[in-house]
Amino acid sequence: MLFSPTVEANTSGNYIILRYFLNTMAPSDGVDPEKLSGPKIDRRTATKLFAAAGMAGFAGCTGGDDTETEGNGSGSTGGNGDGDGTSTSPSSERYGGEITAIWDMPEMDDFDPISASHGNEWAHLVNFTDAPLEINENNEITGLMATDWEVRDDGRTWEIQLRDDITFHNGEPLLAEHFEYTVDRAQNHQESVISGSANLIKPAMEDGIRAPDDTTLIVEFKDVVAYAPVLFIPQRRILTPVHPPTMEDIGRSEYRLTGPGTGPFQVVEHTPGEEIVFERYDNYYLTDDDGNQLPYLDGYTIDLLTEDSVQVSAMRSGDADLLSHAPRQSVSSLESTNGIQIKSSVLSDWRPLEWNGLREPWGPLYDPDVVTYPEGEVPYPTTADQGMSKSQVPQLPKGEFPDGLHDNALKFRKGLGKLISQERLIDQGMFGLGKPAYGPLNPEYWPKRPTEEKPQTQDFDPERGRELIRESGRDGQTIELITRQTELRLSRQVRKQINEEANGVVECELRQVTSGTLSREVSDNLTFPMWLGGSSHTWDAIFNMWNHYNPPDIAGWNQSGLNDEQVREWMVEQSTITDRDERADLLNQIEDRVLKTMAHKYLFHGEDAWAHSNRLKGIRQIPGTRHLRTVYLDE
């Protein structure tokens, strides 16, 4: 068995969580696989495994000592939330109350999970719908709907035991067969934005997902997927069950406004674009540590507001209790306001200055050993009006690069990157919120490689930068950065730094465009010059690279035009490696390779800052997520 569920207790001995362990117990590890097969595990084993396993390798964080503990394997609880450590109210007295939360988005109409495409929606989804597994405060994966699971066929087949007391918000019981319908939609619905991940599972119609009985779910992958457990959490939206009869009955347009889901809160009123009223779901299946049913709150109302000033005024006046994303410029003033607390954590995402590798002076970004072109032919458009659809990219002819073209382009990119200081940018463009990025993998997340061990291509060295640009023979050019209104401040800082440090070897101009123009230039036609691209916060390192570094024909977010067959091979390979150390090494290798090609100038990893009033307690702080099921009011 490569993967095994286990049950472990926390320091107080009453907090049972289910964990999964990826296979790291080769004989050389000195870990006996037998120890992972049963429903109990000693902490030494857990520590050894989690040093290499789990989401971020927070080994044994919930264990308190070396004493062997055991649980009954009957399922997970809701936990207590990490709270603020200030309240001592017994959990039975936490019931009641309603809060108002401001969500920083114009609309939240994707309670049909297949089309939830925005990080803010994923952050909230956990309150509305559950999945077999979830991420906890220690960034570990634990059971949620699942009480147990077994992995077979070298990791290709997962057999998950579901709780038998889960119901949809309409009162109908959740049956394992509902997942067949759910996954089929995720794979095949024309508006599914998760079909890529969902298709790692064998087609639902070909028994990729089966329900032998009401509480047993078998998921069969096409190949080994090393990060499979991450696909089973609510935020990934693949195994967040929809209720087939209701979907057929009310249709998708209605379902996406109201559900039903299976989470702690149900939608009772939805005014599109304005507010959504949620009520406690009385038959929710989770309880807290003391056996009291969750959630505590009677309900909450989400007001959809995108104007920063309104959000801040509402928090300051006490009209709202929670702000899903604190505007960067207002974090410090909100923090200094009586009665308001800021929660923040560094995310696993990355934001780079992304250049168009299909155009001069940045391109080409292709690896000449793999994709080459006839001598003398410049294999990419050189002006903005020579738009190229992504599907055309792999059809470019192969041959030899014109002499020096690749080297000069690389020098230019390196030189340009050295003109920008990440620290200064965070300080002046991000109000100090963020962590400097020197590669796509954030050292604070697994595989946790320190910055010093990465290839030093991303450092700030303006003198060397100017030298490289001159050597590239592409100096004296005016380069353009396009941006939308929401990124204006940051983009201005990038322009300012380039122009200040370049001393005339290159000049940067800024062009502000609408979201429509940006998506046309960046996503559709690849005619953009440079923009501030990047990834979202994710729960496995590969998600930060897969869609950016695979060739443009298969990677939806590869706007730089990087086309490196070696990177592609490694990315496919790492997905099948279940040994975490080995997989970490390969992920680091991919990062090395990408850094050497200078596909991006990495700027920062985001900081997830949000605000709440002091009367909210029991908050579980999980990056990129706003859990409300353990929140209560401490008036």
Binding site: S313, G516, R520
Partner: protein, 314 residues
């Protein structure tokens, strides 16, 4: 009169057709793909293509135009390209908010503007006049959203007297409804009051200096009677005209003020849908605003003929 009204109605219908056509064509020349915007920058291209087909965006432009008018004449405004919600529903939800704010702003504006204009005109050169004039100058110079921000911070944030954002339906009670629209209405009403007040002052000053007022004073008519019965009545004619036409100002002021107060009225719907290339919603919202403008102008023109019988339109 009937012939005149008929002519004006035909003229209004022509203007609305022109607006609808211009908006239809203008939107389709805007950069950006509504399907891409609806599904997000990172949605698979296949999903985007499928949605484009579903929305009829792959049809020739003339086919889309004819479909648009056929549906419009049946009062079927279609569905939002982004949310899928019925446009009729979106408009019917948003319009009462904008109209509530505009109506209250209209009342506040007139309550402030007419007395202030009268006081200013009858105390020309005195402190009251200067005060009112400076106030009006500020009101005209500063945009409604600026007043909105000030009111939200001071009245909503510091004093916590009224909510800083959101809208309560009148069905939830008149008081909560009034509370939710008072600050935005004041913000929109101030610039409106300033314009009307300036007109009131100048118009009244003109009347007070007229020969018939000299005659009234010579005949010994009490100043108060002369002011209210003679001068003010005549001075109101241009004021009514300006107050009516400036209702358009209230609507445009509401657009920005709604953003400040987080109210999803027509203004916010319009801005959001323009940014998302949500053609169907933009078309409907602009058409409605244009219809209100045209209708207000029509009403003002008609009222004016009653107020000033000397005016003839034929």
């Amino acid at each position: 009169m009937i012939k005149y009204i008929f002519k004006r109605v035909v003229h209004a219908a022509f203007v609305i057709w022109l607006v609808a056509t211009a908006v239809f064509l203008g939107l389709r020349t805007m950069p950006g793909d509504p399907a891409r915007l609806a599904l997000g920058m990172r949605a698979p291209q296949e999903s985007v293509n499928a949605l484009r087909e579903d929305l009829g965006l792959n049809d020739p432009i003339y086919v889309q135009y004819v479909d648009y008018w056929i549906n419009l004449l049946q009062l079927d405004l279609g569905n939002s390209m982004i949310s899928g919600q019925e446009v009729n529903e979106i408009i019917l939800t948003a319009a009462p908010k904008t109209l509530s704010i505009a109506a209250l702003a209209f009342v506040i504006g007139l309550i402030v503007a007419v007395p202030a204009g009268v006081i200013s005109a009858t105390n020309k050169g005195k402190a009251e006049d200067y005060l009112a004039t400076i106030g009006a100058f500020l009101g005209v110079s500063l945009p409604a959203f600026f007043f909105g921000i000030l009111l939200a911070v001071i009245v909503g944030g510091w004093l916590q007297l009224l909510p800083t954002y959101g809208y309560n339906e009148i069905s939830k009670g008149v008081i909560p409804w009034l509370q939710s629209i008072t600050l935005p209405a004041i913000a929109v009403g101030i610039p409106y009051a300033a314009i009307v007040m300036r007109m009131m002052r100048s118009s009244l000053l003109e009347e007070l200096g007229a020969q018939y007022m000299e005659t009234a004073r010579a005949k010994g008519i009490p100043p108060r009677t002369a002011l209210y019965k003679h001068a003010l009545q005549n001075a109101m004619i241009p004021v009514v005209t300006v107050a009516g036409i400036q209702v358009a100002f209230l609507l445009t002021g509401s657009v920005t003020t709604e953003l400040v107060f987080g109210i999803r009225g027509l203004g916010r719907v319009l801005v959001e849908s323009i940014l998302q290339n949500d053609y169907t919603v933009v078309q409907a919202a602009i058409l409605l605003v244009a219809a209100i403008m045209v209708y207000m102008n029509l009403v003002v023109d008609i009222i004016y003929t009653f107020l000033d019988p000397r005016i003839r339109y034929d």
